[in-house]
């Protein structure tokens, strides 16, 4: 695996984990999803579209599901979609 592949996998995992936190789930569920996808790929060898479809469905669900209102065990509510994303209490892009 190339360095960029590794960076991509880690950053994707981090983004998915933070999204799961917004849904009040532990970020470790990403590992469970990876395990399921691996098992499905092994079970349906030669039929990659099944694992791809599952991955796509999970990805779209992560991107569309509505997060918890207010604070949960993983922190406060992130700013609304119209605002700039923040890291802690600071904006990603400085004004």
């Amino acid at each position: 695996m190339s360095d960029f592949g590794f960076i991509w996998i880690v950053s994707t995992y981090a983004v998915a984990a933070k999204r799961l936190h917004d849904l009040n789930y532990s970020g470790l569920w990403v590992l469970a999803a990876i395990a399921v996808l691996t098992l499905v790929s092994l079970a349906f060898r030669g039929q990659d579209q099944i694992a791809t479809l599952l991955f796509g469905a999970g990805f779209i669900w992560l991107g569309m599901a509505k997060g918890n209102k207010g604070a949960n065990r993983f922190g406060g509510e992130p700013p609304s979609s119209g605002e700039l994303p923040t890291i802690g209490d600071r904006e990603l892009v400085p004004q």
């Binding site: 991509w8 981090a14 983004v15 991107g63 599901a65 922190g75 600071r90």
Partner: protein, 145 residues
């Protein structure tokens, strides 16, 4: 940290009078009154080394060890205090207030932090940045061609 240092200093400083008194007793016991008085003229603490020598001569290893330990603790505490003073001065000289992160570092933290929450927009932006990272090697290939 200051409180811990203070407490440590107080604890260790307690050994100074103990070592001195034990030294006085040892020197009086093993060397007699005359030599103990003479030893007191050596900055008041000559009784400690004299007590150690007297204890060693009379094979009182425990007393000699305790006196030596007290001496080491006393001067060790002084040396440590001096070292801390120098270090604090040096730290104060070289102290730099924490600087705000650059935009690149913020972007990295945004993508690679495993803590906090992302709403839907954050997810797509974050995944977009992650996806852009995959285009870096292909851009390099394109340049090479």
């Amino acid at each position: 940290m200051a409180e811990v240092t203070e407490q440590l200093g107080l604890n260790v400083a307690d050994h100074l009078p103990s070592a001195w008194f034990a030294g006085l007793l040892a020197s009086y016991t093993y060397c007699g009154l005359f030599w103990s008085v003479i030893a007191l003229f050596f900055v008041g603490i000559g009784v400690v080394p004299l007590g150690i020598i007297g204890a060693l001569v009379h094979s009182d290893w425990i007393a000699a060890g305790l006196l030596f330990g007290g001496l080491v603790l006393t001067f060790g505490a002084r040396a440590m205090g001096a070292w801390m003073e120098v270090k604090v001065e040096s730290d104060q000289r070289t102290y730099r207030p924490p600087q705000p992160d650059s935009a690149a570092i913020r972007a990295l933290k945004y993508c690679f932090s495993f803590y906090g929450r992302f709403n839907r927009a954050n997810f797509w932006i974050g995944y977009g940045i992650a996806f852009l990272m995959t285009s870096i090697p292909s851009t390099r290939q394109f340049r090479q061609q």
